[in-house]
């Protein structure tokens, strides 16, 4: 589904991603964990086309999309729920969802919106209110629901659990698992390594712009290096 080879990226002259290789297979949940400032968000921005790539390639379903404009990627089936949620604060919840399906004008848009409301009932309650007034957890739900409106084959999630109460985190992770059942491939970036590895098939660990460990999620959960550095045990 998604294949990253030798990827490099920099802010100005400072390179923050060095030679990243990773793959996400169709139907998988793959997670990328790592500490603050490791470069996880930068990698996701490269995948969504909002950050320049200075070397290497990104392939999506076998096609090279390395230099493809960001706005053309959702149409291919690659959608992102970005760090910090980035919802349209001045627009209503319903308008945010409608814009998520910007590439579509068919009848399925309405049924997809209903489906989003079924997934997150609180959004239905608040559908006509400005999204900027939502709580952090509700904004995260909206960001995910908006990304799903693009009918993604592959969904990129950047720290969906950040700053949320444990019960909301659980709800969001449950939704991610349900997406897998619906055939959506998920690439999940998280600092909550334990939660992410529990629902993932495979995982990568990033440290200062390099992938240092990779493997099956169950193995990583048992790996002493990870247990010490990321799971706090």
């Amino acid at each position: 589904m998604l294949q990253v080879s030798g990827l490099r990226s920099a802010y100005g002259r400072i390179e923050v991603l060095h030679d990243i290789d990773l793959t996400v297979g169709a139907g998988e949940i793959v997670t990328l964990v790592g500490a603050n400032g490791a470069g996880k968000t930068t990698l996701l921005k490269c995948l969504s086309g909002t950050q320049p790539v200075t070397g290497g390639t990104v392939q999506f379903e076998g096609a090279d999309i390395t230099g493809l404009a960001a706005h053309k990627r959702p149409g291919l089936g690659l959608a992102q729920s970005p760090e910090g949620r980035q919802i349209f604060t001045s627009l209503s919840v319903a308008e945010n969802l409608r814009l998520g399906a910007y590439n579509f004008k068919d009848a399925r848009v309405a049924s997809d919106i209903d489906e989003a409301y079924a997934m997150f009932p609180i959004l239905k309650e608040k559908r006509n209110l400005p999204a900027g007034g939502l709580s952090g957890g509700q904004q995260q739900m909206l960001a995910m629901a908006r990304a799903l409106m693009a009918r993604p084959k592959c969904l990129l999630l950047d720290e969906p659990s950040m700053g949320l109460a444990p019960i909301i985190v659980q709800q969001i992770f449950d939704v991610i698992v349900s997406l897998k059942a619906r055939g959506v491939t998920v690439f999940l970036v998280e600092q909550n390594a334990y939660g992410a590895l529990r629902i993932a098939d495979r995982g990568y660990v990033m440290e200062t712009g390099r992938i240092t460990i990779e493997g099956r999620a169950a193995e990583l959960l048992a790996d002493p290096r990870i247990r010490e550095a990321y799971l706090g045990v």
């Binding site: 086309g49 909002t50 706005h71 349209f88 001045s90 627009l91 308008e95 409608r98 814009l99 400005p130």
Partner: protein
């Protein structure tokens, strides 16, 4: 009483012109949070191009259409050449760029056209229409009608169309707009084209009454800005109501106080709005992420 009605008519006419300028501000502001001070120059270009095309023998409706299309193209060029290269700069810097662009357009117009005052024939003759004890020019009805139509069209655009929502989304969060598939550059191009076209239309409609010369844009931009501030920047309803109110204030000031004070009205409105209600009458943008 009759004189009051007469003041109201002339206030509404001038107010409709201000409303059209303010409506032109709305789109670019909604797409980019930038107040485009070259908006007044679009009005001037609409009038001047129509005048010169008409004098060159092109029938008036065609000359007007040509003016609107050419001005829209100039709006797009302004975006491509001056605004887009400065992307990422603070909004204040971009506003200053638009002021520079307006000076440039004015200078170029002075060279390409001339420094004279020009007028256009009225679209439906000059016989005043009697209403109550007062009279109104047919051209005034064109201006007021034009403002109402543009208002309704814009209101529908922003509330009912996906493209209109995409404009709002681009202003609110450009990164997120790209992530949902919006071509934000194309949206900016569209915004400048539409704003410029609306400005030019204002120039075409108003020139038979107000006359036009290369330097009318400055005052119009200022009045339109005051109107948009009064109504609430970015809101079509605010632009319409703000424009009409400003026109009425001016007409009543000129009628009952002195026409010397008329020009001060716009400044007083700007100051009053800034002090008393920075959001304007219909100000949106009150809910922001916490």
């Amino acid at each position: 009483m009759d004189s009051l009605l007469q003041f109201l008519f002339s206030g509404l006419t001038v107010g409709a012109v201000y409303a059209l300028v303010a409506l032109g501000f709305t789109i670019i502001y909604n797409a980019s949070d930038v107040v485009n001070f070259a908006q007044g120059e679009f009005v001037m270009l609409g009038g001047m191009i129509t005048v010169f095309a008409h004098e060159a023998g092109i029938p008036l409706p065609l000359a007007a259409l040509l003016a609107v299309v050419l001005t829209a193209a100039i709006g797009v060029a302004l975006n491509k050449l001056a605004i887009e290269p400065a992307r990422g700069a603070p909004v204040v810097s971009i506003i200053i760029i638009t002021i520079g662009a307006s000076i440039f357009i004015r200078g170029a117009s002075q060279l390409i056209f001339d420094k004279q005052l020009h007028r256009l024939p009225s679209f439906s003759g000059d016989a005043p229409i009697r209403i109550g004890g007062a009279t109104i020019l047919p051209q005034s009805l064109w201006v007021i009608g034009g403002a109402l139509i543009v208002f309704v069209a814009l209101w529908l655009f922003f509330t009912r169309t996906l493209t209109g929502k995409a404009v709002l989304a681009t202003a609110n969060n450009r990164l997120a707009a790209q992530l949902v598939g919006i071509n934000t550059r194309a949206i900016m191009t569209l915004s400048f084209a539409l704003s410029a076209a609306i400005g030019a239309l204002a120039g075409v409609l108003a020139t038979p009454i107000t006359l036009v010369s290369y330097d009318v844009g400055v005052a119009l931009a200022l009045k339109g800005f005051a109107a948009a501030m009064l109504g609430g920047m970015g809101n079509p309803k605010g632009a319409l109501v703000g424009g009409l109110l400003l026109g009425l204030f001016e007409a009543l000031t000129a009628g009952y106080l002195s026409s010397q004070y008329k020009e001060a009205v716009a400044f007083i409105v700007i100051l009053a709005v800034l002090f008393a209600m920075p959001q304007g009458l219909f100000g949106a943008k009150s809910t922001e992420r916490v």
